[in-house]
């Protein structure tokens, strides 16, 4: 008789293990509060805003999860496909947004939640990036845009006998990227071969983003081979690599991070969000960096949207929150905090934005510089695998940079790789 309880316990234990293994996890908010999870890549500078929102809405709790840039979109796609695991609110970078607008059924349609009347709040092209192909569904609200500028090291420019004043520097390459590379030749001669920029991939991408047409046409065909703008950008970049201008750093690697404070290169293409990275990575270099205009006119590089995956249960609460979070007042606070530039044009008239200067960048009037950049952006169509196509091209340039391939071989391999897309 004594063994019975033991056996019952064993059976119960086994059953418990099996049930636990099979059970799905679910979050309930029995006490009446709603927990909204926010999935971001990197720090968006939302921290103080969460506090503010939770104070005004005591029944809302906000829980932020931050992951690496590359992992973020991979796991978001997996979570969307498997129907579980996504946060209530997810950030999507512009290189990936068209991949998601292609399947709007996986997201809450923000038109149903009342976003329709807000259209005028955003830059037109920013709004359209989050629209489905038929225009019936809106999957996200814009956070920042990446109007481009050019950051440069004043001390290195001075040592090379180049102008240091930001307007004069802008004038050096006001006309084209051709001029930018010519200044590079001068810089190399004067310094005896110091690096002019950090990575050729970044320079190439900036040129492509400025072109009227990028790597996709409007029918979603990859047009890398036939688009003359891309061929020209490639050739000019190869010229710069051959001359030895590139530091050959890959973005987001530890070497890349360290190079900012070491000052191993003189210029870097600076979308608004990049200023924040420079400040964090090179805290000792305050006053040494400055911001000038980017060569070749305006263009957009990066920027994000906040989307609501359809699997999220708290659509209304989440929508109310992102509507508040992406409103001009909050975008301005984020800009002051991180440098991420607002996507809402009404701020572009606001002196709180246009008069903003950054002490780190020699008191450069970043507000005015990025306002001009964002205003003059001509939107470019982004195809579904935009980010991957650009990465493939960037790797081709990387192979030239590290000496493992000739420019012709690298181009041939890029074409070959793109065929499998």
């Amino acid at each position: 008789m004594t063994r019975k309880p033991f056996r019952t316990a064993l059976a119960a234990g086994t059953a418990a293990v099996l049930v636990a293994a099979g059970a799905a996890c679910s979050s309930n908010d029995d006490d009446g509060t709603v927990t909204l999870t926010v999935g971001l890549f990197g720090d968006f500078g939302f921290g103080p805003l969460y506090e503010e929102y939770m104070e005004a809405n005591p029944d809302i709790v906000i829980d932020e999860r931050i992951s690496e840039f590359a992992d973020h979109h991979t796991s978001l796609t997996t979570h969307l496909a498997t129907g579980a695991g996504a946060a209530d609110i997810e950030a999507v970078e512009v290189g990936y947004i068209s991949q998601y607008t292609a399947s709007p059924e996986r997201f809450h349609n923000l038109f149903d939640l009342g976003a329709g009347e807000l259209e005028d709040q955003w830059l037109d092209w920013k709004w359209q990036q989050a629209l489905s192909a038929d225009g019936e569904a809106l999957i996200g609200l814009g956070t920042d845009v990446g109007g481009m500028a050019m950051c440069y090291r004043t001390d290195l420019f001075e040592a090379a006998g180049l102008p240091v004043e930001r307007d004069e520097v802008s004038a050096l390459w006001a006309d084209s990227w051709r001029d930018y590379v010519d200044v590079g030749h001068r810089y190399l001669e004067a310094t005896g071969g110091a690096y002019y920029f950090e990575s050729s991939g970044n320079m190439f991408r900036a040129m492509v983003e400025q072109a009227e047409q990028g790597v996709y046409d409007r029918e979603d065909n990859i047009i890398v081979e036939s688009n003359p703008a891309i061929g020209e950008a490639w050739d000019l970049t190869v010229e710069a690599i051959d001359a030895g201008m590139s530091n050959g750093l890959e973005a987001w690697t530890p070497e890349w991070n360290a190079s900012f404070s070491e000052g191993t290169f003189a210029t870097i293409i600076c979308p608004a969000w990049m200023t924040g990275y420079i400040e964090t990575n090179a805290p000792d270099a305050a006053g040494l960096w400055d911001v000038a205009a980017v060569p070749g006119g305006a263009g957009n590089m990066g920027g994000s949207h906040l989307v609501l995956p359809a699997q999220g249960e708290h659509a209304e609460e989440a929508y109310a929150f992102i509507e508040w979070l992406t409103a001009p007042e909050q975008q301005l606070k984020v800009f002051e905090e991180t440098g991420n530039f607002p996507s809402t044009p009404e701020l572009y008239e606001d002196s709180a934005l246009t008069d903003l200067t950054k002490p780190f960048f020699n008191d450069a009037p970043v507000g005015a510089i990025f306002t001009d950049a964002a205003r003059s952006v001509q939107p470019q169509y982004q195809g579904p695998l935009q980010g991957d196509v650009l990465a493939t091209l960037g790797q081709g340039l990387g192979r030239i940079e590290d000496g493992s391939q000739s420019p012709d071989d690298a181009w041939a391999q890029v074409m070959n790789d793109l065929e499998s897309f």
């Binding site: 008789m1 063994r3 064993l10 086994t14 293990v17 099996l18 293994a21 690496e68 840039f69 590359a70 991979t74 796609t77 997996t78 496909a81 498997t82 991949q99 399947s103 890959e250 973005a251 987001w252 690697t253 530890p254 070497e255 890349w256 360290a258 190079s259 070491e262 191993t264 695998l385 991957d388 990465a391 493939t392 960037g394 790797q395 081709g396 990387g398 192979r399 590290d402 000496g403 493992s404 391939q405 897309f421």
Partner: protein, 328 residues
């Protein structure tokens, strides 16, 4: 087991002795069922879990591998062996296989030899024996990601410690990531650093089971320490060596975190460098499963091909290592 099966019988007999009526057929059948079924029930949890989390995914992966199965679309078309033929004709697959085998050889061979020597040293009388033995296991406790991140910085091109040392010794800097051989060496170092101590302890345990009198006899015959190691110890711990070789092979063929983190957070982390110079098989699988297109069908075909490759190489290693006895 014996007590569990005996107890109902004795209990049944006692009950029948106390009462004149024989036990009903229902009770009898229950007892027999208990005898037959209980043992299976006791071992069931393992098999149920294994079926759910081992066997089913394995079979399902085989099923998926025969489809054009993308995570992004709801339509899955049966394509038979197409994924496998595409895989076997993809030069990037063969490149990844070559890299994997190269990294495996570079990490496993020195690692196991070093482990053998270290274990041999640890059998000797040393001061602070326990300290050294425990210290061996410390690298293994560190997380793979931490190890890979730190070593990636050590092997950095511009600001890495190793290049700094090389330069101050008068040797030139090495761009560890760019070269095929240098990147394989860097990754092999990360693997060896983590696993050498672990294998040392396994060898040490096996060596302590070797009878002392064999060594004494060898010592009287004038055999040196090193001769004792290769003539006595190695043949006598052969089963353990076979075990470590096979386990290291299986682990080494699935290396993922080290090359992925070595490549950085950008696209090079997925393709194993801009020229795919250190893309391993698992990284190749990851590229197709969790990047553009999310081609789970193709990635499943990679997984099954990897399985075949691992079985094949482990088998070859086993046959090779078995020769140890005939040599001695």
């Amino acid at each position: 087991m014996a007590t569990a099966t005996n107890s109902p019988e004795t209990k049944g007999r006692a009950a029948s002795a106390g009462r004149p009526v024989p036990p009903g057929p229902w009770r009898d059948r229950l007892h027999r069922l208990d005898l037959k079924a209980s043992p299976f029930l006791y071992i069931a949890p393992f098999f149920v879990l294994f079926a759910a989390f081992g066997l089913f995914p394995l079979a399902f992966t085989a099923w998926v591998s025969m489809h054009d199965w993308s995570l992004l679309s709801d339509e899955q078309v049966f394509v038979g062996a197409d994924n496998y033929t595409a895989l076997l004709t993809d030069p990037y697959f063969w490149n990844a296989l070559g890299n994997t085998v190269s990294i495996l050889a570079l990490s496993t061979v020195p690692q196991l030899l070093a482990a053998l020597l270290l274990a041999h040293l640890l059998t000797m009388r040393l001061r602070g024996q326990t300290f050294f033995r425990m210290g061996m296991l410390l690298p293994n406790v560190a997380s793979v990601v931490a190890v890979a991140v730190i070593f990636s910085q050590l092997f950095g091109r511009d600001f890495g410690l190793i290049n700094w040392v090389l330069e101050s010794l008068g040797a030139g800097r090495i761009d560890w990531q760019t070269g095929r051989a240098s990147s394989h060496a860097a990754i092999a170092v990360m693997v060896a650093w983590k696993w050498t101590g672990y294998n040392t302890l396994i060898y040490l345990a096996a060596m302590q089971a070797v009878p002392k009198d064999v060594y004494e006899a060898a010592h009287l015959d004038g055999a040196s320490r090193l001769q004792q190691l290769f003539r006595i110890t190695v043949p006598m711990i052969r089963p353990t060596i076979v075990f470590t070789v096979i386990v290291s092979t299986i682990y080494g063929l699935q290396i993922f975190a080290e090359p992925q983190l070595f490549g950085g957070a950008g696209p090079n982390g997925v393709t194993g460098g801009a020229s795919r110079q250190f893309q391993t098989l698992t990284l190749y699988l990851y590229e197709h499963a969790f990047n553009r297109g999310f081609q789970f069908g193709y990635a499943s075909a990679v997984a099954w091909t990897m399985f075949a490759v691992i079985v094949l190489i482990a088998l070859l290693n086993y046959l090779f290592i078995r020769r140890i006895r005939s040599d001695s």
